[in-house]
């Protein structure tokens, strides 16, 4: 098996991981390796085709893919080694991880390891929504990938579950896919996005925001035909052929947990100190692996601060 040694190994090539890698190189760290499991680095912004990225770090208003590409380009220019289609699967020792890639297996040992594995939206099952399992059920992530990256057929009428920032992103994606959003549901008292976003998109896309409502059943056999909802004890049905479960984030904490690190009960993120260090010296967690959820540019800005501390610790 191939064995490699690097100064810093970063797991996850989204905005946080790439921003940290760039900053480490700028701070004089010799070898920085980023392991990215998708075929292209850049993380979630890669498939989020609407503007709203980059204010905090590039001081510009960029689309997701352009924002992601800027980080990939900057990382390559800075001399960061990015391995795509590569998955860190197993802790071999405290500072060594095994990686699977099309080129084979590799054990990478590092003086410092930064986990930047991000977060995902809870899918329908994780929310324990009863009913059958028809086609037409998405998360914002799978919807965006199907729409923007693969150009697949989605449907005609959608219900969006959740009213967080990302939920409005789902509405925009649905519009792009030619799908009408008929309602947005949340069990909260109000939406959790920026007021202006909710106001503007609500008018523009003409959907109803229904608060204090839970979804009690997915209807449909082969294909979604509707959702049964309950508001103040009263049940009703909204007809739709597509359901998008949005937000309700859970960190991708598998590698952290498999490494024996403790997880905080509320967010299920690995426990970190003020310097983002986990319970072992030299092992860090950054970006949306450490919830609550933050915008991509905020993750990047924070990651750079951590990276400077990591660089200093290696000198």
């Amino acid at each position: 098996m191939k064995r490699t040694e690097v100064d810093v190994l970063i797991i996850g090539g989204g905005p946080a991981g790439l921003a940290a890698a760039i900053e480490l190189k700028k701070s004089g760290v010799k070898s920085v390796r980023v392991i990215e499991r998708e075929r292209v680095a850049g993380g979630v912004p890669r498939h989020s085709f609407h503007p709203g990225y980059g204010l905090r770090d590039f001081k510009r208003f960029l689309s997701g893919p352009r924002y992601a590409q800027k980080y990939v380009d900057a990382a390559v220019a800075a001399g960061v080694q990015i391995s795509t289609s590569s998955t860190a699967t197993t802790w071999i020792s405290e500072y060594e991880l095994e990686v699977t890639a099309p080129t084979g297996l590799e054990v990478i040992s590092a003086r410092s390891i930064i986990l930047a594995t991000g977060a995902r939206e809870r899918a329908r099952a994780a929310r324990a929504v009863p009913g059958k399992r028809p086609a037409g059920i998405y998360t914002t992530g799978s919807l965006q990938q199907s729409t923007y990256l693969e150009d697949l057929e989605i449907g005609t009428r959608a219900v969006v579950v959740g009213a967080e920032h990302v939920s409005f992103s789902a509405v925009m994606t649905l519009k792009h896919a030619g799908v009408k959003t008929v309602a947005m549901l949340t069990d909260k008292n109000k939406h959790e996005s920026v007021g202006l976003v909710r106001f503007a998109l609500g008018i523009w896309y003409r959907f109803k925001l229904i608060t204090k409502t839970e979804i009690v059943e997915v209807l449909g056999d082969k294909r979604v035909t509707g959702v049964r909802i309950r508001r103040a004890g009263v049940e009703s049905v909204i007809a739709c052929d597509t359901i998008v479960f949005t937000g309700n984030w859970i960190p991708d904490n598998e590698l952290a947990r498999r490494g024996g690190f403790d997880i905080d009960i509320t967010h299920k993120s690995p426990l970190v100190d003020a310097a983002s260090q986990m319970q072992r010296p030299g092992i860090y967690a950054i970006g949306n692996l450490v919830l609550p959820i933050k915008a991509a540019d905020q993750c990047a800005v924070d990651a750079k601060i951590v990276a400077r501390k990591v660089a200093a610790s290696l000198r």
């Binding site: 998955t87 699977t100 324990a128 059958k132 399992r133 199907s146 997915v218």
Partner: protein, 454 residues
């Protein structure tokens, strides 16, 4: 045009129907296996609790007891031969009340009556030594080392593949709409007529309806819904045996069991329904499972839920399997419950005996073509961990489904196989792709594209 007449037509390509097709394919017979669904194992069989049962708790002397005990050995040997994941965990029947505790010695005696002699009564201390994360209040247990867990999906595909390679015809998307009984039976289907000398009804939930078409009324099938919750792989270390309920006056209870895919499963519920297509989960069912689960393994409920399934078992008013040879060269294989997976190969042998007794001449026996199935079990080496496999084909190093670590190579193999998947569910049952905790956040679109291209 001379219409083809086959020797045996089997209605239903679940675990039982495919096992029968495989068994008969060893002989010089023309066989057709038909199913209304687009894939094999797409009905009751796909939501099995995935336990390889010893049959220790069957009704002694019943057909089910005999076939489960025999099928256990047949399927264990077959799994080893073709590469189907089995983990020899053993089961603990945990007593939570005095009544249940008092029942344990009776269950042990019943096990002996069923020919199973290895079960042992253990104390509460021993229970917690084996299962540290079990909820408080366990009073003792019956340990049944022979109860194992198995990959419930691969046997069906393996049976169907072997049958097909040996010459059996498999016709999916073919629903029986009526029959004409005669010296040669004719099955009228959504895809034309099929003529056969012998007909086997392995139609599961619809076996009573097929019986009806043949003018027989021995039982009525009631769909008994079983809802299951599958917990995240990170919970797998909480439980290391199959935790079975002790039958008591309070009903049957639910089990908590690891799966060979590396998850923990909680379920099933048992609710009789009028609708044979109501395979959805319910709010009440999930609430019931949460309550039960929080007693058995409280920490489990703090873990993420990866999937929720509901399966429909074909229960009848009889407690035993309903396997009967009728006049007119027609055999019913009905009333097969969750033990059907374990018993499948023994049921197939039994059906073959009934066919021979009914006058079928088997002809020459031939060796079945060898098949080697992809390993889906977490306890055994998978392609993403296999340096030489990746060296040979780099697609085994390309993980498409991150949660389940299923590779592009495995997905392509499944799509190119003798019995390819026709939908995402079928692809998942063959590769685990898309079945993980993110339920397709990452891989859904990629998998759908590959499937649709096919």
């Amino acid at each position: 045009m001379i219409k083809k007449i086959c020797d045996v037509a089997i209605i239903g390509a679940g675990v039982v129907g495919t096992a029968i097709a495989r068994e008969l394919a060893q002989h010089d017979l023309s066989i057709v296996l038909i199913d209304a669904a687009s894939d094999v194992g797409d009905g009751t069989s796909k939501a099995n609790t995935a336990i390889l049962h010893t049959g220790f708790d069957m009704v002694p002397g019943s057909l089910e007891s005999r076939l489960v005990a025999r099928g256990y050995h047949l399927l264990a040997a077959y799994a080893a031969e073709v590469g189907i994941a089995v983990e020899k965990l053993g089961a603990l029947l945990v007593a939570w009340s005095d009544e249940e505790l008092a029942n344990l010695p009776k269950l042990q005696a019943k096990a002996v009556e069923n020919g199973y002699k290895d079960s042992v009564l253990i104390s509460a201390t021993d229970v917690y030594a084996r299962e540290a994360h079990l909820g408080k209040g366990a009073l003792g247990a019956l340990y049944v080392p022979g109860e194992w867990i198995i990959d419930p999906w691969t046997p069906i595909v393996a049976f169907a593949t072997q049958a097909k390679l040996a010459g059996a015809e498999i016709r999916l998307n073919t629903k029986v709409t009526g029959v004409s009984i005669g010296d040669i039976h004719t099955l009228h289907t959504s895809d034309g007529d099929i003529s056969a000398r012998y007909v086997i009804n392995a139609a599961g939930l619809y076996s009573d309806e097929i019986d009806g078409a043949f003018g027989i009324k021995d039982f009525t099938v009631v769909a008994r819904r079983g809802e299951l919750m599958v917990f995240d792989k990170l919970s797998r270390t909480l439980i290391s045996h199959i935790i079975l309920p002790v039958p008591s006056s309070m009903g049957k209870g639910v089990l908590v069991s690891p799966t060979v895919f590396g998850n923990i499963m909680l379920g099933p519920t048992a609710q009789n329904l009028d609708d044979k297509s109501a395979s959805g989960s319910s709010e009440d069912g999930l609430k019931f499972l949460r309550e039960k689960g929080s007693r058995i393994a409280p920490e489990l409920l703090g873990e993420e839920i990866t999937a929720i399934y509901a399966g429909l078992r074909a229960s009848t008013e009889h407690s035993d399997f309903q396997i009967r040879a009728h006049e007119n060269r027609y055999i019913t294989v009905g009333g097969i419950r969750s033990t059907g997976l374990t018993a499948s190969m023994a049921i197939a042998e039994h059906v073959k005996e009934l066919l021979v007794a009914g006058g079928l001449s088997l002809g020459d026996t031939k060796a079945l073509p060898h098949v080697s199935m992809p390993n889906l079990g977490e306890a055994f080496k998978r392609p993403y961990q296999d340096e030489s496999a990746i060296a040979e084909n780099s697609q085994y190093g390309e993980i498409i489904c991150h949660c389940e670590r299923a590779t592009r190579g495995e997905v392509m193999d499944a799509l190119d196989s003798a019995i390819p998947p026709t939908n995402m569910g079928g692809l998942g049952r063959r590769t685990r792709a898309g079945l993980g905790r993110c339920q397709g956040f990452y891989c859904h679109s990629e998998l759908r594209k590959l499937l649709e291209k096919k």
